[in-house]
């Protein structure tokens, strides 16, 4: 297999959720190498980690996201794809962390208080990390105090907030107000299915994106 074929195969594994060779899912790919093995092979072959991420992983997750919004696949398939992406990222992380790929800055991310949805937030975290940022993931149900604590220790970081419920959009609004009250200079980007550009403006956040790529563009523009 040449590197192009390898990346195409890897992309397929993420799209259909083939985590590793032993994974029973999907049945049609039984016994074949999964995202885990193929990423290791690509690195061994000397493929640039950034190319693996951009040319195989992100494209696959875009397809998954699209099928999910069209309701052609549901949460279980989405989660298995995210798991496959994660397996690939495990191999790439050392490269991103070792400084071989230069760090652009720090990004703090969390799902806001009252909200437990983390699938989208995790994807944003993975892709932002892959784009060269050091990511500090505060998890789910994160209140203003926890965000501020992380900002205290990382005052130069950009902060991302995710919300998936209309009820927790209110919580997002309060957290943004509290952070801006204490740290007016810290840049805040918001996202999540019900969040809109108009809402971002209303609550006084600095950036909005409806997908991880948009979050990366926003962040990169800040350091450009």
């Amino acid at each position: 297999m040449n590197s192009e074929e390898l990346l195409a195969k890897l992309s397929e594994c993420v799209e259909f959720g083939k985590v590793n060779k032993n994974a029973p899912f999907p049945p049609a790919m039984k016994g074949m190498d999964g995202a885990d093995e193929l990423t290791a092979q690509a690195l061994e072959m000397g493929v640039d980690p950034v190319d693996i991420l951009n040319n195989a992983l992100i494209g696959a997750m875009d397809k998954v996201g699209e099928k999910f919004s069209q309701k052609k696949i549901f949460v279980p398939q989405m989660l298995i794809s995210a798991k496959a992406m994660n397996a690939a990222m495990e191999h790439l992380k050392p490269y991103f962390q070792s400084g071989q790929v230069k760090r652009k800055g720090k990004f703090i991310i969390g799902t806001v208080a009252g909200d437990l949805h983390d699938i989208g937030k995790n994807l944003v975290a993975m892709i932002v990390e892959g784009a060269g940022w050091e990511v500090i993931d505060l998890g789910v149900d994160v209140n203003a105090a926890k965000f501020m604590q992380a900002i205290d220790t990382n005052p130069e970081a950009v902060v991302g907030l995710s919300a998936l419920l209309t009820t927790t959009m209110a919580s997002m609004k309060n957290i943004v107000a509290e952070i801006k009250g204490k740290y007016p200079e810290v840049k805040l980007i918001v996202g999540g299915a019900p969040v809109t550009e108009a809402f971002k403006t209303e609550i006084g956040a600095d950036g909005y994106s409806d997908d991880p790529q948009g979050a990366v563009s926003y962040l990169n523009a800040l350091v450009a």
Partner: protein, 295 residues
């Protein structure tokens, strides 16, 4: 003992209650506060909600115990209060319902996913068993496993209720429209899958709740009726889809709009009809009126 299924087999259509969460907020429940704790700290407020639906003409009311499983109570530090909070929930609704009307003990999802390895089926079963027993002790007539999206979690809850209590067991899941006449839960479960699995697990009544309003429920009910000609069907619809407005979540389906879908819903095969998020005693009173006119 009273039996909803038996009355339904004689042709009766029942009306159930409306929303609790939004109502509790109006009475002062703050974001971040545990709704179930109010069963012990503000029993009169909870009673007033239950009573307002009986006064609106509902034949049955739920209990304020949707998040009363140990997993949902854990972040509030109340996981050791499952028995106390659920028993109190049942007692309050019983007092409001009197002996003729029915009380359905509400059992909602845990928020944990078997698929992600968050929990095992057995752990879910034990948690639901504890909640179901406390609700039975508090005097409910039936147990309502509601708002489920994962078939395995719903099965764990229904089985725990069936095995351990004498109550009638009802199970509803939440479906979204995924195509022309196609519906799926968040986890991809169709109404047809659900009906067959839950009847096998021991549910006496099945149905759908929450969602995006009464209109979608007609299609969901049709599909369920097609999957099984006899099983009683319960529908609790939201007053439309949730919308964010000025810091609050609002539901915009008016009682008139809700009422306009009741006749076709009954024709599709629904036997118990009520509301979910965003519905008010006024919505319920309008449903009662339509049901009475159709008698």
């Amino acid at each position: 003992m009273k039996s909803l299924a038996k009355e339904i087999s004689k042709g009766r259509v029942f009306v159930s209650d409306g929303a609790w969460g939004t109502f509790l907020q109006q009475k002062g429940l703050k974001p971040g506060e545990c709704p179930e704790e109010w069963n012990c700290s503000h029993p009169e407020s909870v009673f007033e909600i239950a009573k307002s639906y009986i006064d609106a003409g509902a034949d049955m009311i739920l209990t304020n115990s949707f998040g009363g499983n140990e997993f949902k109570l854990l972040p509030y530090g109340l996981h050791n209060k499952v028995v106390e909070l659920n028993r109190a929930a049942a007692e309050i609704s019983r007092r409001a319902a009197g002996s003729e009307n029915y009380v359905l003990g509400s059992i909602g999802p845990t928020g944990k996913m078997i698929l992600l390895g968050d929990v095992t089926y057995e752990e879910l079963y034990e948690a639901f068993k504890k909640q179901a027993l406390a609700l039975e002790q508090g005097g409910v007539d039936a147990l309502l496993v509601e708002t489920m999206s994962d078939l395995e979690e719903a099965k764990a809850a229904v089985t725990a209720c069936r095995d351990n209590t004498k109550c009638e067991v009802i199970c509803t899941m939440t479906f979204e429209k995924s195509g022309e006449n196609e519906f799926n839960s968040m986890m991809g479960v169709t109404p047809t899958d659900m009906v067959n699995t839950m009847i096998t697990a021991g549910a006496d009544i099945i149905g759908a709740n929450c969602g995006n309003g009464m209109e979608n429920m007609i299609g969901i009910t049709r599909e369920m009726r097609k999957a099984n000609a006899n099983i009683p069907i319960l529908i609790h619809a939201n007053a439309g889809a949730p919308v964010y407005r000025d810091g609050e979540t609002v539901f915009l389906e008016t009682p008139d709009v809700t009422a306009s879908f009741i006749k076709p819903l009954i024709e599709a095969g629904a036997n118990i009809i009520g509301g979910c998020c965003g519905t008010t005693p006024e919505h319920i009173a309008r449903i009662v009126k339509v049901v009475n006119e159709l008698k």
